[in-house]
């Protein structure tokens, strides 16, 4: 098997595959269209799970960042970074599926709807976080700054969320409450999608963590070589 997999990830991976197959089967074939949204309701079976998982990932980033600031361990730094990367990917999914859901439902790809707007801003914030993590800095400096940003980003998300909500609220924006008639089968499809995408996220985070870990190890190896070379200079 590949170098970053283990027994645990294989179990997660195969169950993710199984649930994905089920989610596709139920989401695209077995469950029927909804009254108002017709077949575009099927997009919600990936859209909503994407958002939920993204939020969960950013929660992990927050926790990882806080713990990193307390104990300064490589482990938690990498956990925070891996979760943020996967979370950002999922947020991109949510934005894309939201847009293609909006076109048939609202008639436009983009609406200045509070949730959509704050999600877009949040997406850019985490792109910034990932950009900071890619900077050429000593590990401990980069990790510390990333951890600070990982915590502050959550505050930003809350502030942006409420201000945007208030903005549309005061402006009495068009209401998009379609009052969807979600039935059992649709609910179940959504549930399957959540489990599938959640398991996939877990698999991705673990693998991303291990890639990060390997990068660190490689860096250590280079450092040891550099040390030997450096010590040789004087002799």
């Amino acid at each position: 098997m590949t170098a970053t997999s283990s027994k645990v990830t294989r179990v997660i991976g195969y169950s993710a595959l199984a649930f994905t197959a089920l989610a596709l089967l139920f989401g695209l074939v077995i469950s029927g269209p909804e009254v108002n949204m017709r077949d575009s309701v099927r997009l919600l079976y990936v859209h909503v799970p994407s958002i939920l998982t993204a939020y969960l990932c950013f929660g992990i980033t927050l926790v990882g960042s806080v713990i990193y600031l307390r104990n300064r361990s490589t482990f938690w730094d990498l956990v925070a970074g891996s979760a943020a990367e996967v979370g950002t990917l999922y947020l991109a999914f949510a934005l894309i599926t939201g847009a293609v859901w909006g076109k048939p439902t609202w008639g436009t790809y983009w609406e200045w709807d509070p949730r959509l707007t704050s999600t877009a801003v949040m997406f850019i914030m985490y792109l910034g976080y990932l950009a900071l993590r890619r900077m050429e800095l000593p590990h401990e400096v980069r990790s510390r700054r990333a951890a600070v940003l990982g915590v502050v980003n959550i505050i930003n998300v809350i502030v942006v969320h409420y201000s945007v909500q208030w903005w549309r609220g005061l402006h009495q924006g068009r209401t998009f409450g379609l009052d969807p008639q979600i039935r059992d089968m649709q609910y179940f499809s959504w549930f399957l999608g959540t489990v599938a995408l959640g398991l996939i996220a877990a698999w991705l985070i673990i693998h991303r963590f291990r890639v990060g870990w390997l990068e660190r190890q490689l860096d250590e190896i280079h450092l040891e070589e550099a040390l030997v070379e450096r010590r040789g200079e004087g002799v």
């Binding site: 280079h222 450096r230 010590r231 200079e233 004087g234 002799v235």
Partner: protein, 242 residues
Amino acid sequence: MVEDGFRKKADAAPIVELSGVISLIGRFPALAGLDLTINDGEIVVLRGPNGAGKTTLLRLCAGLAPLNDGVGRIMDLDLGDRVQRRRIRRQAGMLSQQTFLYDELTVEENLQFWATANRADPEAIEPVLDRLDLGRRLRTVKVSGLSTGQRRRASLAVMVCRRPKLWLLDEPHAGLDRAGRDFVDDLVGHAVRFGATVLIASHDVERAEELATRTVQMAGGRVLVDTNTRGESDRQEDLDAS
């Protein structure tokens, strides 16, 4: 009495105590497992080719360069501890290629700012300015308009006002005229008499070794040769005499 007590305590714990210290600049091991112990009141000259790690060693002692591995204690404070490192920074004084001055401000404004920032006595500035020939004409000149030597003198003035316990001088004689160099030497002697310890990285071997009580030869981020220029017994007599 107080002096005696201070000496005893200092004898127990060296001012600089480094073992197996690794310090990285980016991913480059500038210090690659360095061991060095410096006692209170010593004047140590660091020698070595360019890139031997002298500047990084000074920065490490100032609490500025990272301690990536090994054990480092400066003035009996742990370099690896965030809070203690802050105290090390307060008590160390550094003269380096970077002069820590604001180009846009005048010599006087710079000195006032740094003196206040360092909680130094503003009265202490005047004599130092005069002594460094920065007193009359130059004090109202912007730092960007100074020559290299004048800049260094201004930087030195800031450091003197701080009254640090550990003096870290990176090429202190470079760019200075004869009078400036003499002044540096005077200052070093003066500082040691008042209980400071001095670490000098210098290419001006002759001048530096005249001052030094000890010479440390560095290469490849480590100490190669460590010699007492005056010998331990002389050193002890100096202490007893003072």
